[in-house]
């Protein structure tokens, strides 16, 4: 490799979701890349669940497993910590991404680590871990092919399961020709894959440490379950002498028996595979007499706003997510604008509810509006997260923070931020009108007579009519119609 991998932060994108969406909608290759990928993924998932009754039973089981784990979360975290300690895995706790980064750096410094191979992990994306380590002189190489590609491009993932789904093979061929020594331009997928293998093989062998995420942690046994297809995850967690795993505190299940049904849901929902090539269950570091495996394993438990999400029983359901990405694969909005438009670590429907809760409604308050509430995400979610209900709840929280659910201050970070002056004056006017029957009658009649004369291009109507036809006022008001029908109190 001639050029060192670039930091993963991605260029900051100004503006709102709507502005970015317009740019994406005009990007024809991007739209084609997403359309093709999402159509394929929807068909593959459907083929994996031919029997509706079987699927219903499996989803009910999966949802209940995660609900039970969340109901007992603090106890289970303590149990996980105790089991891990017995097994020789060292557990660390982090409230913020900065704290988590410093813990990882501390472990690496203690071991004199210079280079790291990293398996795919969304939590490490939340932490911007690669950039942080880079600033402190430690080079972290992404070992998942998709992550490696976007690391070379200096971009963020655009999908949580398939991070470089926004790129086609021509774009990847050009990227490899530019960054990999001796690599000519090609669109041959096997040749591109072989090039990545060649480069990364030595990185695995040279690395001082490996980093991974965690798909499921089992409180009963202290086992970390990791699923993957490439083998890079196994290499990253087996070949270097030190393994550091990072996980969100919600990735916990009670027992080992909970793993098979979740494994039956995750890859089938994600990529339409019956199972991933590798399911890696790590319970302890290398034992006495064993010839390979890391000599030390560390587990970093990250909060980063999850305890705030947990504080509200309705919003808590967000934490059931097993990160399969089925919601984005089936989302008509995501399929058209792609993952980068969300300008967030988690795109698509799950991102629309998770990001504003973690980052705050003041930062990501427009994301819950990037939805038609068509419910496709809810229908496919393997653990039955009521995404649409939570979207509506967050839209409401943005203008009117709820007090009832608040245990530790505002339930949602940045709640109330969306309450604009024009909205509050419209609602004040609305209230005033409805509290004065004479005024109401006058207004309603005026609109029935003259409302249709309002031109479509004036500001309040302009945004609406830019993509929709202008609403038409009925010639007679509801009250007039009711009186005609004989209601005398109308």
């Amino acid at each position: 490799m001639t050029v060192d991998a670039q930091p993963d932060a991605g260029a900051p994108k100004a503006g709102s979701f709507a502005e970015r969406a317009h740019l994406a909608l005009n990007d024809k290759p991007l739209r084609a890349n997403f359309r093709r990928a999402m159509d394929g993924l929807m068909a593959k998932r459907a083929a994996q669940f031919p029997d509706a009754a079987d699927l219903a039973a499996l989803r009910a089981r999966g949802a209940a497993i995660k609900e039970r784990a969340l109901a007992r979360l603090p106890d289970l975290l303590e149990q996980l910590e105790a089991r891990c300690a017995e097994n020789g895995i060292r557990v660390h706790w982090a409230e913020t991404t900065d704290e988590a980064n410093r813990i990882v750096l501390g472990i690496f410094r203690e071991h004199g680590v210079k280079t790291v191979v990293k398996g795919k992990s969304m939590v490490s994306e939340e932490m911007h871990l690669n950039a942080f380590l880079g600033e402190h002189g430690i080079q972290a190489i992404e070992s998942d092919l998709g992550e490696y590609i976007i690391q070379l491009a200096g971009e963020m993932p655009s999908h949580i399961v398939m991070p470089c789904i926004h790129k086609n093979k021509g774009q990847i061929g050009a990227l490899f020709a530019e960054h990999i020594e001796g690599q000519r331009y090609t669109e041959d997928v096997d040749e591109l894959t072989a090039a990545a293998r060649r480069v990364l093989r030595d990185r695995f062998a040279e690395a001082d440490a490996g980093i991974s995420g965690v798909n499921f942690a089992v409180a009963e046994t202290g086992t970390l379950v990791l699923v993957e297809n490439e083998g890079n995850g196994r290499l990253s967690t087996t070949l270097p002498p030190l393994h550091v795993a990072v996980m969100g505190i919600e990735k916990l299940v009670e027992t080992l028996d909970d793993i098979p049904p979740l494994l039956a849901l995750l890859p089938r929902s994600a990529t339409g595979q019956p199972i991933t090539t590798y399911v890696n269950m790590i319970t302890s570091p290398r034992c006495e007499g064993e010839k390979d495996g890391p000599r030390e394993v560390h587990l970093v438990l990250l909060d980063n706003g999850r305890t705030r999400v947990y504080a509200d029983p309705e919003l808590r359901e967000t934490l059931r997510c097993i990160r399969c990405g089925a919601c984005m694969n089936h989302c008509p909005v995501y399929a058209r604008v792609g993952g980068h438009t969300y300008d967030a670590v988690y795109p698509g429907p799950i991102g629309k509810i998770l990001t504003p809760q973690i980052a705050g409604l003041d930062v990501a308050g427009d994301l819950p509006h990037a939805s038609s509430l068509c419910n496709a995400c809810v229908e496919v979610c393997p653990v039955k997260i009521p995404i649409a209900d939570i979207l509506v709840r967050l839209r409401r929280e943005a203008v009117r923070p709820s007090a009832s659910n608040s245990v530790q201050g505002a339930a949602v970070k940045g709640a109330g931020d969306g309450w604009t002056l024009s909205e509050s004056s419209v609602w004040a006017g609305w209230k005033w009108l409805h509290a004065n029957p004479a005024l109401y009658r006058l207004g309603a009649r005026a609109l029935a007579l003259a409302g249709n004369l309002i031109p479509a291009g004036v500001p309040p109507l302009k945004a609406w009519t830019s993509v929709r036809s202008k609403p038409k006022f009925a010639p007679r008001t509801l009250h007039q119609l009711a009186r005609d029908k004989g209601f005398d109190d109308a």
């Binding site: 894959t193 990364l200 490439e230 590798y278 290398r286």
Partner: protein, 229 residues
Amino acid sequence: MHDSSGTRARILSRLRAAPPSPAPALPDWRAPRFDAPTRLDRFRTMLEAMKAEVHEVDAADWPRRLRTLLDNRGVRAVVHGDGSDAARQLGEAWGADPQAPRLVAYDRAVEQWKGELVHGVDAGVTLAIGGIAETGTLILWPTAAEPRLMSLLPPIHVALVEEDTIRDSFAEVVREQGWAGRMPTNVVLVSGPSKTADIEQTLAFGVHGPKELIVLVLKRAGRTYAAAG
């Protein structure tokens, strides 16, 4: 070293202060079951669908069959576990033959021969402790005699699995074998060779791990399905 005890206490106390939510009972769910003749068919079909090669061989004859398969691929060095039954059988069958692939025992810690292990062996032979018919999956339970990199670093992974250790589902295996009370350092489920679809959803094999998976299902002579139960 970072002191995270205060952090830990704050996280746990926030979780404990939250309103409780009910813990629902686990609704009924049953993993699929297969009868004895379809079990092996399913195991084979699922593995082959994921581009693994499956051969049913006589348990006493597998080294000879493997020799043919590896000769066809030009394999020169094969890594195997140290002191296992499989290693003994391979030694007996190939040891005296100068034309046979070189047998390399995994008899040292990885640090002592990383370079050779990463670049110098063509195939690794492992003994799976079982198989799963539902998904076409091998269960590798690494030990001192069965190190985990044997199934990961060489371009070809050969897995031996005894026919009567193939079960219907992962759920059945975990429960009936009491895994919860005896988890090893690392257990791995393998369902095919290493693969990726990261470039335009086009499947490519051998991205980091083995390009090929050869599964030898070991059958006992004179054994019938009725005996399998």
